[in-house]
Amino acid sequence: MSSLLVLAIVVAIGVVAFFVGRQRAAAHDNGAVKPHSRAHYHGWWAFLLAVLPAILLLAVWTIGSSFYLDRHIHAALPERTADSKVASEALDVSLVKSLAKGLRQLDANTTLPTTFAELQPMLAAKGVALASDTQDYMIPIAVEANAVQSRLGLFGAVITLALSIAGAFYALRQIAPRARARNNVEKLMLWGLLAASTIAILTTVGIVLSMLFQTISFFESVSPMSFFFGTVWDPRFAAAGSGGSQGQFGLIPLLAGTLYIALVALLVAVPVGLMSAVYMAEYASPKVRSVVKPALELLAGIPTIVYGIFAVVTLGPFLRDLSAALTGGSPFIQGQSIFTAGLVMGIMLIPVVSSLSDDIITAVPRAMRDGSLGLGATRSETIKRVILPAALPGIVGAILLTASRAIGETMIVVLAAGVAANLTVNPFEAMTTITVKIVNQLTGDLEFNSPQTLVAFALGLTLFALTLVMNIVALYIVRKYREQYE
């Protein structure tokens, strides 16, 4: 019996329990005793007791039985010898599992042939394609595995349903006018809310752990020294049978490119964004504000892929042709360059800087502004000498947050920055970034254990650590600043 069907039956039992419980609770309410909880709380309590433990059991049982099945197949496989045709034990097990899955598609009373060569066309007729290195000896093991699986599944279904029914009856028997059904339900709800809020922690833990494990296995084949301090990025392709690593995985050129492009982007975004925020907060009339603010929000809502395409289709060729026209021949700005990528990224970040700084500037107390204006300072003097210095910590935090966005930005640089890992100071040449290389190493066919793939996780962890530090510092500064004036 499939788990989905069991799940559906369990929910159905829960629904029945809900209605029966509500009905019984309502029947108790005859005016003699004031009931503690309203009838539907009794219904919900019955529903929860019927459904939750059963689903938990089902989940544990499903996971446990899949582990058991793996071990069962493992034990049934013949001892590995030097001339085994299948490359690894893990592959052996997975071949048996996909064979077993294929066999389930066949009619129950088909007589199975003993060789895979005969079996394959039968499966192909059912639309099941299998790896050609499936071996003859796997067929009986797969049949046996299927039998074990269906036994386990049936047993699991029976005890799950039994638990569900038991839960429902237990809850229904408890129903009494003074029973505290509402408190029970609310306690469970609180646990549910708590569980939902821990997902944020689980995500962070998941991010760190998943990348950490892959990074550790990457460092088994490439030394951390040559990764963090290497100046050459040349991972080569993961050729089958080439063994260990021959490529060089130097982080330095990627990090330099990332920081260079981010710097160009900030040089564009910070002055423009900050000045627009100042103008919006201090000069703009309400009418202008009501038009410009949504327009800037619109700029922030455009997906980064659109900026990337603008850079590569329109701006890149335009700058290249422009520079060719200026020198009268060879262009000195390449189609993909640090300048182009940084400029477009800077445009993308303008609304980020301006909305963050807008909040910070408007948070400066009115009294400081009025004091300065009252002493005869012009508006721009007030801004430059009073408001901006007062808002400085917050603005620094905003710039840090923006910088972390720039470092982690992917689509613009994938399209506009280039893929060659150069080390250059010329902003008109192409350089590549950490994010570009993560995408490069992980698109296409993957072989999960090669250093060429695993390096992406080491890069990801570096990126995560870099942005994490910036974010935490920035959030700390912004929060401190906010408290100062509240």
């Binding site: 609310e186 609180l190 809310l193 708590l194 939902a196 809020s197 997902i199 944020a200 922690i201 995500t203 962070t204 998941g206 991010i207 998943s210 990348m211 423009v272 900050l274 000045m275 103008y279 919006m280 201090e282 000069y283 949504p294 327009a295 800037l296 619109l298 809502g301 455009i302 997906p303 980064t304 892929i305 659109v306 900026y307 990337g308 395409i309 603008f310 590569v312 289709v313 445009i347 303008i350 012009t378 508006r379 721009s380 801004i383 972390s404 966005r405 982690g408 930005e409 992917t410 689509m411 994010t435 993560i438 992980l442 698109t443 992406a456 996780f457 990801g460 994490l468 974010n471 959030l475």
Partner: protein, 438 residues
């Protein structure tokens, strides 16, 4: 006496008139103001330039050139040995392009025996004619032997030429359409047989190596699945988490940890979520690559912080008097939250959710890592089938060299932006309409 004193007073007042640089200060003031206006204009100018270039490149993608031909479903071509009753696969394998070619030859008045002339017709009609005619015959085999008008797509190069996008002054050998084809095209145009129609294929076709038969059908369905998954997961989890943090959580280390985590996750680069999806969902839990389900999970994790932050702001904006009133009338804390606070905070939550969804819809980077860069020609039936997403489809077309793909890509961007703008405007309208000042 008085005259003299008046005189000295005036002199005293006039004398210390120092030059306090008022002129320079006002000039600085004006300059500063101009810088500010300039900064805003730069931002808006870029917005305008970007939208204009994209729309000017992309609006033609919504029109597609077709040729209306009287196709003779000739039995001699489709089923020369008359075996279709016993072997239906004959109808699948038949030489359908030949039918279209014959019709075109007849229409243009070319001598059917003039082989070199007929060879020049190559690349006039789309290869998609094969599938189109096959589907007509497969749906209704009785058309065999009859003649019927069919709109057949022109090939991508002819489509570009028809729209006037190919520079005809370039010498013939260096462009993709020959002079002869142009002449035929003009003849058909004069006949009214060749015309532009609204390009429904852009919305319905899947991936294809030919621009004229490739579209965003798969991507739209994939994105739709993902948005549904994000909505179903992120909204309840996000609201539940916000309620706990805002209404129930005590101020302690654990709560602080959660808060720091949420704020930080909101600023983590999106590509990191892609790495998480690849390592945990695909590699560890063995979920299928390229599936909309995995994409939806990854985008859910990415959207959660946005929704939580917006929801908490909305909950915090409900005034304490409502809480006190509910509690005072004997509601439990849970009843107070779910029956009073939550309905009042709903518009704010909805706005935050829509903005989060819009962000998720435009997100590309994490989807690249979980294998959504895939050539998927068939519609995904379930969220577990291979699919692509709107921005990923745009990315894939951006990597194609042909001009016609650039046109489709710009058209796709327009569609994506229209979706996003509709969502954002809905959010703004909701906020304006239901926002309450307490």
């Amino acid at each position: 006496m008085t005259d003299i004193s008046m005189d000295t007073m005036v002199r005293v007042a006039a004398h210390p008139r120092r030059d306090i640089g008022l002129k320079a200060r006002y000039a600085a003031e004006r300059r500063f103001r101009i810088y500010g206006a300039l900064a805003i204009s730069i931002g808006l100018a870029f917005l305008a330039i970007m939208l204009i270039t994209i729309v000017s490149k992309g609006y033609t993608a919504f029109w597609q050139t077709t040729v209306t031909l009287p196709i003779n479903f000739d039995e001699k071509v489709i089923d020369p040995s008359n075996k279709r009753a016993t072997d239906p696969s004959v109808l699948i394998k038949a030489n359908y392009p030949k039918l279209a070619e014959n019709a075109l030859v007849a229409k243009l008045g070319i001598n059917p025996d003039d082989k070199p002339m007929i060879r020049k017709l190559k690349g006039f009609l789309s290869e998609g004619a094969r599938v189109q005619l096959r589907d007509i015959v497969a749906a209704d085999p009785s058309v065999i032997g009859t003649t019927r008008d069919v709109n057949i797509l022109a090939a991508a190069n002819l489509d570009s030429a028809f729209k006037g996008q190919i520079d005809l002054s370039v010498e013939e050998a260096r462009r993709k359409v020959s002079d002869q084809q142009i002449a035929w095209m003009n003849k058909l145009k004069a006949d009214g047989a060749m015309a532009e129609h609204f390009n429904t294929g852009l919305f319905t076709y899947g991936a294809s190596s030919r621009p004229e038969t490739s579209g965003m059908g798969v991507a739209i369905i994939g994105s739709f699945y993902m948005m549904i998954i994000v909505l179903l997961l992120a909204l309840p989890i996000g609201v539940a988490a916000s309620i706990y943090l805002e209404e129930f959580a005590k101020k302690n280390r654990f709560t602080d940890l959660i808060e720091v985590n949420i704020n930080n996750l909101a600023a983590v680069p999106s590509i990191v979520f892609g790495l998480l999806g690849l390592a945990v969902f695909i590699n560890f839990l063995g979920m299928p690559r390229s599936a909309a389900f995995v994409g939806g999970l990854v985008l859910t994790l990415m959207t959660l912080p946005t929704i939580i932050i917006a929801t908490r702001a909305a909950l915090a904006a409900v005034p304490p008097s409502i809480r006190s009133a509910a509690l005072g009338l004997g509601a439990s804390k849970m009843q107070m939250v779910f029956q009073h606070i939550l309905p009042l905070a709903a518009p704010g939550i909805l706005t935050g959710t829509i903005i989060g969804l819009a962000r998720a819809l435009g997100e590309t980077a994490p989807l690249l890592l979980i294998g959504m860069v895939a050539f998927v020609a068939d519609y995904p039936k379930t969220p577990f089938d291979p699919a692509t997403a709107l921005p990923v489809q745009i990315y894939m077309w951006a990597n194609e060299a042909e001009r016609a793909f650039v046109e489709r890509m710009s058209g796709a961007i327009i569609i994506l932006l229209v979706f996003l703008m509709a969502m954002n405007i809905t959010a703004i309208v909701l906020r304006r309409r239901f926002e309450r000042r307490w």
